[in-house]
Symmetry: C2
């Protein structure tokens, strides 16, 4: 095989992988948004076969040969092609260690698990979910060994989501966060809480849908390339840089829930829409890592979306959507309400300050589940114990406890820490952005364009061209979590007069 032939195959391979990924993503999206309830079995059969074909495609020895030819001739490749070869070689090595049959069975299991988890959560029935969770944990422990047999299993999984991150680093990171933030949370416990009752008036879903449309407009999300759907647990799905889907979940008695979920998912979508479109149908498109992805979603959600200038900018319009519910409320009251900090039960509804403690619970649980020192049957009790220890709250049932998140049912172990890392990355990006751009002046005018432009130039457009560490360093210098804890300290000290 000569270099030109290999390059043609590189292109064909990536298009084929794109097609399989797109097919599976479409079936997944359908399954969690519009599909009838009892139809998972049929999708499972199709998904299993498609995953198997994708696995076969990438693990074909001819692919290995092609990647070797190109790796030996990197001088003849463009930087993009070099990066493609690097990323695909990494994936090829990992994948060829997973037997095709196992990979296919796992894909079917994940499809089934999503269905079982939905039912278990609905009916507060952890024992229903437990056997599936056990299988998922077992598969992931095995996969960890395939990914990197030299690493501890959980380190190997973490590396999948945030290349280079380890338990050692995360233990240190979370210790810093805990040391800096827990005293503030305690101090706030002594203070009077803001009034949030107006957030829980009746907000008809139909009006919230229109409000979502408005928020997407503020974020510059072009509806010809970005749709919004409804699902149990909101997520974002990118088919390519021209086709993004965000989802949300409306609660009639909580306007802030969907509002910030739309801004959060909108941040994910913003990221992928802004990736260099030349990377479409190659492995270079999409986000650099889960941590970087979360840095973007949480940037829009918290650093911008929960700032005073932003709330002040959109509040008059918000009052137009909800005149009866918000006629007697001021922007300042709204700002205080959406920033109320109080230990609580549900991660996705948690405030910016206590959020990291929710992530810590999951990090501890995963570390031990994958490490083999925690059994699935003990998950509920251990979950409840950690919530009491870290957050001081009593978990009333598993629906509001260990069944609240979809991640484990989707087979994601090692993903959660990226939520916390993303928040920390974001704070550093903000400080650097403030040097280049009049962030708060623009936000106060409801104009997010300069913010998005900075992020596009420094982060978004690169797609997967750079590893997360390089990307953060290039944009912000060395990673420093105290920028994040300082940001929170300053914000919440002001909010609560500490």
């Amino acid at each position: 095989m000569d270099v030109q032939q290999a390059l043609n195959e590189l292109d064909g391979l990536q298009k084929k992988l794109y097609a399989y990924t797109t097919a599976q993503a479409s079936l997944y999206l359908d399954g969690v948004t519009v599909a009838p309830r009892d139809t998972a079995a049929g999708r499972g059969v199709a998904l299993g076969i498609l995953a198997g074909e994708q696995h076969k495609t990438l693990s074909d020895p001819k692919v290995g040969e092609m990647l070797e030819v190109l790796s030996a001739n990197t001088d003849q490749l463009t930087p993009e092609q070099r990066r493609q070869v690097e990323l695909l070689s990494r994936e090829y090595r990992q994948l060829t260690r997973i037997p095709a049959q196992e990979y296919m069975e796992y894909a079917m299991l994940v499809n089934e698990a999503s269905d079982v988890w939905h039912r278990a959560k609905e009916t507060n029935d952890f024992p229903l979910f437990a056997p599936v969770l056990e299988k998922l944990v077992a598969y992931n422990r095995r996969f960890a060994g395939y990914y990197d047999p030299d690493k501890a299993p959980y380190d190997a999984l973490l590396n999948e989501y945030e290349r280079g991150i380890t338990m050692a680093e995360l233990d240190k990171f979370f210790a810093t966060v805990r040391d800096k933030l827990v005293p503030i949370i305690h101090a706030i416990g002594e203070k009077e809480q803001p009034d949030v009752s107006f957030l829980h008036r009746r907000y008809p879903v139909e009006d919230q849908r229109k409000f979502s449309d408005y928020l997407m407009e503020v974020m510059g999300l072009d509806r010809a390339h970005c749709a919004i759907g409804e699902t149990e647990h909101p997520f974002t799905l990118g088919f390519n840089s021209q086709d993004l889907r965000i989802t949300t979940h409306y609660l009639e008695d909580d306007v802030a829930s969907s509002m910030y979920s739309v801004i959060h998912e909108g941040g994910h979508a913003r990221y992928e829409l802004d990736v260099n479109p030349e990377y479409d149908y190659t492995c270079l498109t999409g986000g650099a890592s889960m941590g970087i992805h979360e840095s973007q979603s949480r940037f829009y959600e918290n650093l911008i979306g929960r700032s005073l200038p932003f709330v002040q900018a959109i509040f008059p319009k918000m009052q137009e959507f909800f005149p009866q519910q918000l006629g007697d409320v001021t922007a300042e009251q709204m700002y205080r309400a959406v920033n109320k900090a109080q230990p609580s039960l549900i991660r996705t509804e948690a405030d910016e300050l206590t959020y990291c403690l929710h992530v810590m619970v999951r990090y501890e649980m995963e570390k031990r589940l994958i490490g083999g020192t925690l059994e699935v049957k003990d998950v509920p009790a251990e979950w409840n114990r950690l919530y009491k220890e870290y957050l001081g709250v009593d978990v009333p049932d598993d629906t509001h406890g260990c069944l609240q998140d979809s991640h484990w049912s989707g087979g994601s172990f090692g993903y959660f820490p990226s939520y916390a890392l993303g928040s920390a990355y974001g704070a550093q990006m903000l400080r650097n952005m403030e040097k280049d751009v009049d962030v708060w002046g623009s936000v106060a005018r409801g104009d997010l364009e300069p913010v998005t432009h900075w992020l596009t130039e420094k982060i978004h457009r690169y797609g997967r061209m750079l590893d997360p560490k390089e990307l953060v360093e290039q944009a912000c210098g060395d990673f420093d979590p105290t920028v994040y804890t300082d940001y929170l300290t300053e914000k919440y000290s002001k909010l609560y007069n500490l």
Copy 2:
């Protein structure tokens, strides 16, 4: 390869084909219901590749070998396996004549065409659609030659949708229909028309959605296995016998439009939901032919849905959904309104009586387009001329003329006649059903179960086990279109006092 190996491969092949079909169907469904507007390109790339892989899968010489082994040993096969081998051999022979590259390019063209057609229809811009239509016609003429080089191209395409049907038979069929029905249509032209103004009051979409839910309930469509979506041109999509999707299109000023589209698509869904579930993931599932499929959809829509007992049965409930719009209307008035017969422009909105003439226009056009005696650039003029000749109406623009249907943009040439055939099959089924079941007593109670049970036993459960001709003969004896024209003559003579 021994018989057992071949049987294993037969099973694996069908599952794989199911997976590819499911993937493409999911992308298609997404594209015409919830996908953002400018995203067809990315789906097109994926669809092209998936179609290519599916083509490769079925046209693999190993498949030919397997089918030969099984064809030579039919005595060792179950009736279902024999039928699978028969159907797949037919498809294999056809498909291996289409070069993979051409098949793939065609799949991408169809995806693009759907998008272009939507825009062309929206902006009344036939020249925008014309180049795509030209390519579609050219591909289908070539494909006809691949399917059966001994047949006239249009006969070869007809055979794809309704096995065994020919232009000669259809010319005769349409002549009968025309001879019997045109005099009635003329006679009605002299009579006073019923009041239909109340159908065109303002019916909010949100209320129509709830009414659709009710209609699906009346039809026994289990929402855990059948969902409803919204699209430009309603259709039904079956993933397997446990997962059906119908779609509709709501017009605020026409309650009957979506009402009968839901019942029509519900009939398609009813059919596939009732196919023997053991046929899932094999080529035996789904409908026997387009004609049989249309016989079922039109059975529920017209023979049942537009009957006096049915309208009387559901009308009280309909008044509950629309108290302001229908408070001053009687069931009898509603019955007359939804059966108003009058030549018009839009096929999907046409009444039961004049419907066949709309189909005749398309039949004539297709016959000549595929026959090579009509050029694409002449389509609008010829369309308008035929509408004047057959229906006596002037077509104001292409949006309400030759751009109204999605079929050609989907690459379907030879499908339209099955709408007319289906209506005729249905009338014969009704007459036979009446011998076995108290059809009208049940319908008057709003109970469609006996009707559905009869259809399930005689038609639905067979899936593709029988060819359409066998199916109709087994259920109703020899095909006789005068049963259909007699049915219409009787119904409309009473309605209009002829």
